[in-house]
Amino acid sequence: MPSDRKYAFFAFVTAAVCVLALYIHRHRQGQTGRIDNLLISAAGNMQRQVFFFSQGMRRISDHYVMLVGVQKRNEDLEREISGLKLQVSALREVDLENTRLRESLDFRHRSEQQLLSAHVVAHDVSSDYFGIRIDRGSSDGVKVGMGVISPAGLVGRVLRVAPRFADVRTLVDPNSKIDALVQRSRARGIVSGQAKQATCKMSYVDRLEDVAVGDAVVSSGYEAIFPKGILVGYAIAVVPSSTGILQNVMLRSAVDITRLEEVFVVLPPGEPEKTT
């Protein structure tokens, strides 16, 4: 390479590094600029159309093509429903008793948090991270850091917001951190995603705490980002630290991120409720 080309090459590299540094600084804390909003809106609108089309195709495939074993599954589910009906009946009694006791103790009823329904319009472009895009944005009152849940359990938190779309970092993403409790023993820890695996790890759990495989882990309700008691996942392994006082709990997420279609954004108390 002649020297003038060499200088040009290094000038470009230096310029690129400077641009990169400024650009990273500009985008910290989920901030988005006009160009970002434009790109997200353009991509989001098209993603919504293609995503719904591909979901429709999958439904056709699931409902009409892959019917092998449906009869047997139907019988299994009917048996399961019979068992669940008994459990519901018993739980109804417990609920009534709970209400009576609360009233007698004059406890304040837990305030229901407002939820904003949203459709998933796209998944993460990379296989190393686990994010989703939803069709609600700042114009609907969505803000960075808000919690996102689904009927199956906890999904994640809002990462960045454009006027009509928002990106959500799911709980299986390596950068996700969620405060949680083991439902049975009330052991507390931080649930984070694991890179390259669609599982989570609950860290900072005291080694003396009672945690077993199969235990349900739920949200702690800390900072009111998520309602308390939302299912996070189930323990699949308990790994005591070889040294120290802590143990790690490996979790299987309650929500299958790849099959999510509808979610709810948890609005802080006082935010107006909007439904689709």
């Binding site: 690129a16 990169l20 650009y23 997200i40 995503f51 895009r133 959500v168 790849t258």
Partner: protein, 166 residues
């Protein structure tokens, strides 16, 4: 536009594919193409823009993919001074090598952003996923060549290599 279309496909229809095939790096062939067949300025601008678009469609912190693909672009660019991939075999081998390099570089870049993982973490380097990425990449690389030919875009080799600068 081609990158935009591929990103659209990857984020909507592709997650429904079996997990192995879903591990497909959509941007890699484009970045390698920019490194090999575009001028430094044009390639870098295209690499920055497309990697930013890619970042906006991912939950990764902004900057991870931009830094990662800029590095891939520079490697592809430097490699082009030694091997200008023009035959089918050289294109495929180049994409295979850079797919592998990409899997090793990304954890290091992610670590610089505070959340790296081991290059040997389960599933990080899967030979089949790397091969699949190179195969799909090869198709897109060739399609970019066809698009360039259709729009009569002059390859960089014709401009720079004939000047005797390389």
């Amino acid at each position: 536009m081609a990158v935009f279309g591929v990103v659209l496909l990857r984020t909507t229809a592709w997650p429904l594919a079996p997990p192995l095939f879903a591990r497909w790096d959509v941007l890699l062939p484009f970045i390698v193409y920019f490194g090999q067949r575009r001028s430094m300025a044009e390639g870098m601008i295209l690499a920055l823009f497309t990697s930013h678009l890619y970042s906006l469609c991912s939950a990764a912190p902004i900057g991870v993919f931009t830094a990662h693909y800029l590095l891939i672009f520079l490697i592809a660019r430097l490699v082009s001074y030694v091997v200008f991939a023009s035959t089918r075999l050289s294109i495929f081998v180049l994409l295979l090598c850079l797919s592998l390099a990409s899997r090793a570089i990304l954890p290091a870049v992610a670590a610089a952003f505070g959340h790296g993982w081991s290059p040997w973490a389960p599933g990080n380097i899967s030979p089949i996923a790397v091969l699949w990425s190179a195969l799909v990449g090869y198709v897109f690389y060739q399609l970019m060549g066809v698009l360039d030919a259709m729009t009569r875009k002059l390859p960089r080799a014709s401009i720079e290599l004939t000047e005797g600068s390389l």
